[in-house]
């Protein structure tokens, strides 16, 4: 006698209860608050906002809490929420040149107007675990900067003055922004080859680890681009939106972003004089690793446009963009745990049949050999 397994619904409900229980953990430990996450795990919250393409620190923190600290799960939660939000319009491009930078460094000039501003960085910390942090000790406030509040000239603009770097619509010294609004791959079907705006959007929400590895691969010779970190800056920028009915733009608020402009060697071609080229990275929040990786990969993906040979993975747009989204990748890798027994049954049947044929043939050739021997 056999009765098929039933009760999927009850099993799912119980699994959800168990998840909620484990998420809360030991009840004698106070529950973590969203405010604590926003304030004290800010870089994790930033990553979730960046890869979910939604600037909402409290919601991102809630997602981190709900996901038990699983970043890709948190990104997924925030994206699934984002997709239900109505669209009111598109903001004007943010002007990173007017950023009040908390951090601004350049690897290409020893000193420059505004100076090198280290800001809140892990750089030069000695990676020694700090026992003090295990407790809740007093932390003195950071010293105030002298020149705080002054916008800093962008390094790429300094090079642009000399006409030593390719022109870009992203610089204040260059042509005005095109009237054509940027594309949005969350609203339009993806198509290869992509325009650079869509490609940058895909990279900005791409998986940090994937882009890091790809960027690293270009440094190790898989599509070398000879990069210099022209500038990395991080701070708040104003977001404005044009309201045609009003005839002027309205400030919506400020978002924290990290921008990286890589300056890359370029020998020039028959038409273009030798000059530097750019790789661009811009992400929500404070994430230098992501912004730099993005800039490296952006530059690599411009290989075709700049007439370079496309030989390495990081130069292959379809490969990079098709696999950079960690929510898609996670879903498809993990879907292998869904039942596949109908397909497996079909394969079982085939393997058994082919095995039978194989053995039949082996037997046949044995008999033939035997007959030949006799």
């Amino acid at each position: 006698m056999y009765v098929a397994v039933k009760g999927g619904e009850a099993a799912i409900a119980n699994a959800h209860k168990m998840l909620a229980d484990r998420r809360r953990g030991d009840r004698s430990v106070p529950a973590i608050t969203v405010e604590q996450l926003v304030e004290q795990l800010a870089l994790g919250v930033d990553r979730v906002m960046a890869e979910a393409s939604l600037y909402a620190p409290e919601l991102a923190a809630l997602a981190v809490k709900q996901a038990r600290g699983d970043m890709i799960e948190a990104i997924f939660l925030l994206r699934a929420y984002r997709t239900t939000l109505p669209r009111f319009g598109a903001s004007r491009p943010v002007e990173t040149g007017e950023m009040i930078a908390e951090r601004r460094i350049s690897a290409t000039y020893k000193d420059l107007p505004g100076g090198q501003v280290l800001g809140p960085t892990f750089d030069y910390t000695h990676r020694l675990l700090d026992p003090e942090l295990a407790g809740d000790g007093e932390v003195p406030p950071a010293p105030a900067r002298e020149s705080e509040g002054e916008p800093l000239t962008r390094v790429a603009d300094i090079l642009a003055h000399e006409d030593l770097i390719e022109r870009s619509a992203a610089g204040p010294q260059d042509e005005p922004f095109p009237e054509e609004p940027s594309g949005d791959l969350t609203r339009e079907p993806l198509e290869f080859p992509m325009a650079r705006d869509l490609r940058l959007q895909a990279l900005a929400r791409g998986d940090e680890g994937f882009l890091l590895a790809l960027g690293y691969s270009t440094q190790r010779g898989y599509g070398r681009t000879h990069p210099f970190a022209g500038e990395i800056r991080m701070g708040e920028v104003e977001v404005e939106m044009d309201v045609p009915e009003l005839g002027f733009s309205v400030a919506l608020g400020a978002v924290k972003v990290t921008e990286c402009q890589m300056v890359n060697q370029f020998a020039g071609s028959a038409k273009v004089p030798p000059q530097f080229t750019r790789g661009y990275g811009l992400v929500f929040g404070q994430s230098e690793r992501k912004a730099m990786s993005m800039a490296l990969v952006d530059r690599s993906l411009r290989a075709g446009e700049l007439g370079e040979d496309r030989v390495a993975p990081a130069q292959d747009e379809e490969f990079v963009i098709s696999h950079s989204d960690n929510v898609q990748a996670t879903g498809f890798v993990e879907h292998l745990k869904l039942p596949h027994y109908v397909d497996f049954q079909a394969e079982l049947d085939l393997v058994r049949r082919m095995r039978g044929e194989f053995e039949e043939k082996a037997k046949g050739s044995d008999t033939a050999k035997q007959e030949a021997a006799e």
Binding site: K6, I12, T83, P86, Y341, L348
Partner: protein
């Protein structure tokens, strides 16, 4: 417009916003007009993972209305966990009637099977599709496969199938077996066993295919020719099973192999649970059916 109240007040009917539904609806109409052609669409992030039926869910969410009755199956069964989960999702966000009975459903969302009971006019079968491109495993680049479809250049697929024959003596594709739709597009039927391929041909029901992660929608209108690719000397054939369903004694249906013990004991039972239960209710009895097998089963919902 928010039509739901209470705990899900912030979500629209059937979860998707109206502009998204319009975009998907336009894609569905074009898919019907070009049978077997994969229409790109701006797939949305859904509240379940990519690869778990987001394409099918988006298609269903865009076509479903308050008068519909929904059936969801995975591997032919209404009670597999992902089918239960998707059915619960639509009950929650669209408040629609659900059923496990194939004949009572107006929309059937499926993963990996086509119901045994013949579908009827007016019914819509929505397939969840992981990889919509039948040429993908032969050519990974979308830019290339798109050209092949445009030029109706399917030589690569025939070469692949013929290599199977050369190596194994027969075509070694058992599921996701490619078909030619309305004599024009080669199409992936989703990972259904090839056993189900003949059911797609001249079906009275509308068949819609949604691939969320790959952002494609395609369709087979009712009464449309769907031919499984083959060769004159190696005609297409479906799987056959040596024994009938151990529960309902059905023959000519697709069976699941169930392992009964640690010593290789096994039985074969209907993959289509609704079909099996109906036969049990009618009094059909297989070799391992309990006297009260039907009564002992809880309804799948």
């Amino acid at each position: 417009m928010t039509v739901m109240t209470g705990d899900i007040a912030t979500y629209n009917f059937a979860y998707l916003d109206e502009q998204t539904k319009r975009m998907i609806r336009r894609a569905i109409l074009k898919a019907i007009a070009i049978p077997g052609y994969q229409v790109p669409f701006a797939s949305r992030e859904m509240p379940m993972p990519y690869g778990w039926g987001t394409g099918g869910v988006q298609v269903t969410a865009s076509i479903i209305g308050p008068d519909d009755t929904l059936k969801v199956i995975d591997q032919g069964a209404d009670d597999t966990t992902n089918a239960v989960s998707i059915r619960a999702f639509f009950q929650k966000v669209a408040n629609v009637a659900v059923t496990t009975h194939t004949r009572d459903a107006t929309i059937i969302q499926t993963r990996h099977r086509i119901p045994e009971e013949p579908l009827t006019e007016g019914q819509v079968l929505v397939y969840q599709v992981p990889i919509p491109e039948p040429l993908r495993f032969l050519e990974p680049r979308e830019t290339e496969t798109r050209k092949m479809h445009a030029l109706e250049e399917y030589g690569l697929m025939h070469v692949k199938l013929y290599e199977d024959i050369a190596r194994h003596g027969h075509i070694a594709t058992t599921y996701a077996y490619p078909v030619l739709v309305a004599d024009r597009y080669v199409m992936d039927p989703s990972p259904t066993p090839k056993f189900d391929n003949p059911k797609m041909d001249m079906s009275p029901a509308l068949q819609l295919f949604g691939a969320g992660r790959e952002k494609r929608i395609y369709a087979i209108p009712p009464y449309t020719r769907v031919v499984s690719l083959d060769f004159e000397d190696h005609p297409f054939e479906i799987q056959s099973f040596e024994e009938p369903c151990a529960l309902c004694a059905a023959e000519g249906v697709y069976l699941d192999e169930v392992i009964l013990d640690d010593h290789g004991g096994r039985m074969f039972v209907c993959s289509d649970t609704d079909h099996c239960e109906e036969r049990l209710a009618q009094g059909h009895k297989g070799r391992l059916a309990a006297e009260d097998a039907y009564a002992a089963k809880e309804p799948a919902q």
